[in-house]
Point group: C2
Chain length 361, copies 2
């Protein structure tokens, strides 16, 4: 691909990771006439059911990476724990979008907070814990209660502990195997929101309506739009999103988790990819996040994010997916099952989106 030209229909997009996000990216690429090649270590990866080229291999396997690059005009990733070394290997052969910097920053919580602070984005107080000796000073900086989080490889509440005392903080750090951590001040918020945003290589941005997100056991349970209680925050969320995208020189779709607090919005976390709290966009908008990500990384113009319906997205966790036959008859409901062979408790097996006529029409 010449860097300034869009990828024409017939072109191939490489995806690192074959989970549900890679699957839905593949499904969204097809109507644009684009094919996908997926690299994943799991031979039963959900994305393999719907892609043009399957490469079973590890993200550190240079032959697998080179095979992927050979198929593709551009490469993207569907999760942020891809090793940066894979991006480095691929980048010499094919553009990788979003690029190395967005990945490196978002896979390390201290880097992420530091980046956000430097960009003038409000975040909760935070401090590094590299060793037990840092715990007391970190708590002094962020206050109690606090949340101790490993800096890397955390998701869905894994690798984090809520602590109410200094003793609990020491215990939590040891329980997290003394891995490099950060302490974050515990934020009292009215609600959790997120904004999904996209940016093209030439700097054009688009956002969707903000959603409210309900978590259960640290896992997203439900997202809903619109959020009538947060209308004044919507404009601020858009501005934050654009600032973050520009500061990262980002290309693609990003998910930005927000706390809506009495003192204003705080950014909680960035996901350098399509995001669970944006799944509703694919059903309720002219252009959904999966198609938008494909457009952005392929150098196409962004599509309209206009919403035609109100929406409530609900994740199907573990055995909840067994109710597929009754979900199939639930009113105004779009079903999305991920084709995962292995149904573990709490695992994201699918989601449903309930579509309702817009309340303001």
């Amino acid at each position: 691909m010449k860097s300034n030209e869009p990828i024409a229909p017939g072109g191939v997009i490489g995806i690192l990771g074959g989970g549900q996000l890679g699957r839905m990216l593949s499904l969204a690429a097809a109507p644009l006439g684009l094919r996908t090649a997926v690299l994943c270590p799991d031979p039963n990866a959900p994305a393999f059911d719907v892609c043009a080229h399957r490469i079973v291999g590890d993200y550190t396997d240079v032959d697998a990476l080179d095979a992927l690059a050979a198929h593709c005009e551009v490469v993207t990733y569907e999760f942020e724990n891809v090793p940066v070394s894979a991006i480095d290997r691929l980048s010499t052969q094919v553009p990788v979008r979003p690029g190395r910097r967005a990945l490196a920053i978002t896979q390390e919580r201290f880097e992420e907070k530091s980046f956000l602070s430097a960009a003038g984005i409000p975040v909760a107080p935070y401090a590094c814990i590299d060793a037990e000796a840092d715990v007391s000073s970190a708590l002094k900086a962020v206050g109690l209660p606090a949340i101790i989080k490993t800096r890397r490889f955390g998701y869905d509440g894994k690798g984090q502990r809520l602590v109410r005392t200094a003793d609990e903080a020491f215990a939590a750090f040891r329980d997290l195997r003394s891995a490099p951590c950060i302490a974050e001040g515990f934020v009292k918020f009215d609600r959790e929101l997120s904004i999904i945003a996209a940016r093209t290589p030439d700097g054009t941005c688009a956002t969707w309506d903000i959603s409210e997100n309900i978590h259960e056991n640290h896992v997203l349970r439900r997202s809903r739009v619109p959020v009538p209680e947060a209308i004044p925050q919507a404009k601020h969320a858009q501005t934050l999103a654009q600032t973050i995208l520009q500061a990262l020189d980002y290309v693609g779709v990003i998910g930005i988790e927000l706390f809506d607090t009495p003192d204003g919005l705080l950014v909680n976390e960035l996901a350098p990819r399509v995001h669970n709290s944006g799944h509703w966009t694919a059903d309720a908008c002219v252009t959904g996040q999966f198609e938008q990500h494909v457009r952005a990384i392929s150098g196409w113009a962004l599509g309209e994010t206009t919403r035609h319906s109100d929406a409530i997205m609900t994740n199907l966790l573990g055995e909840e997916v067994d109710a597929w036959d009754s979900l199939a008859t639930t009113s105004r409901t779009k079903i999305h099952l991920y084709g995962k062979r292995d149904r573990r408790p709490g695992r994201k097996m699918g989601h449903i989106t309930r579509l309702l006529p817009p309340a303001n029409s």
Copy 2:
């Protein structure tokens, strides 16, 4: 598959034919957790980009058919010119839906008209032409002008001639290589409509709103919904569709083309499959025709056909697809490119659906 049980997520649907309809069926099966196996003689078939199993082979190749059956819980077809022999071979191994009878009837125009007449469905006058000796009596039965059509393998206006005199009728029959034909009376209509309908194995039916269809050079150019001029006809169209589905003991989605005449609706043609004039349903409704066909043949409950937007679907023919980059920025427009390698003049290369807020909201 036990015949009365729905196919559970993880199951595989076989599709005879790998064109755009097979492709869009595959894309619609995935969110239900179902995979597809596609049999097609063309190794570059559009559906091969998005299916789990690819079988390159002819529809008369028994090994290819057996390989397909071995993968699948149910088999369907995406075009009506599949040889009935293929269905016969497959049916001994796996359910084929819609079945042999719907296929046999709809691939032969005289059979189709006879079936419709017997079911009490209004059709244009028609008569058989097996040899030149039949031309005069056929014209006497149907009047002039008339349309002479080959009984088999006609589509998009291929294999048919409009004739205004008996001499032209003789010439047309010879021009069609004296293949078995029918003569149809030329119907003056106000507009061409279609209704897309679905039926489950247990006899439940669903229909979408009727669309108006604009043809150019015998090829569908545009379908639009709603059709305010045809509101009184909608109920009659639904009744006709249900009568046809029941009389065929049909399972799956059917496309029914109608002439809206001053004397009422006439059925012009049946397509035993998802239909070009129903493509808008996938973008404008809670459940689209592709998902509905997958549900019906898999023994699932039908989905809601509720429409959330008004829609205009426009086919992209031949070189029109080259405008993909400007189509990508057209307001409220969903793009569907078929991934066809070979761009021939007039060939269906894709379609777009323009979504508009419902006029009656």
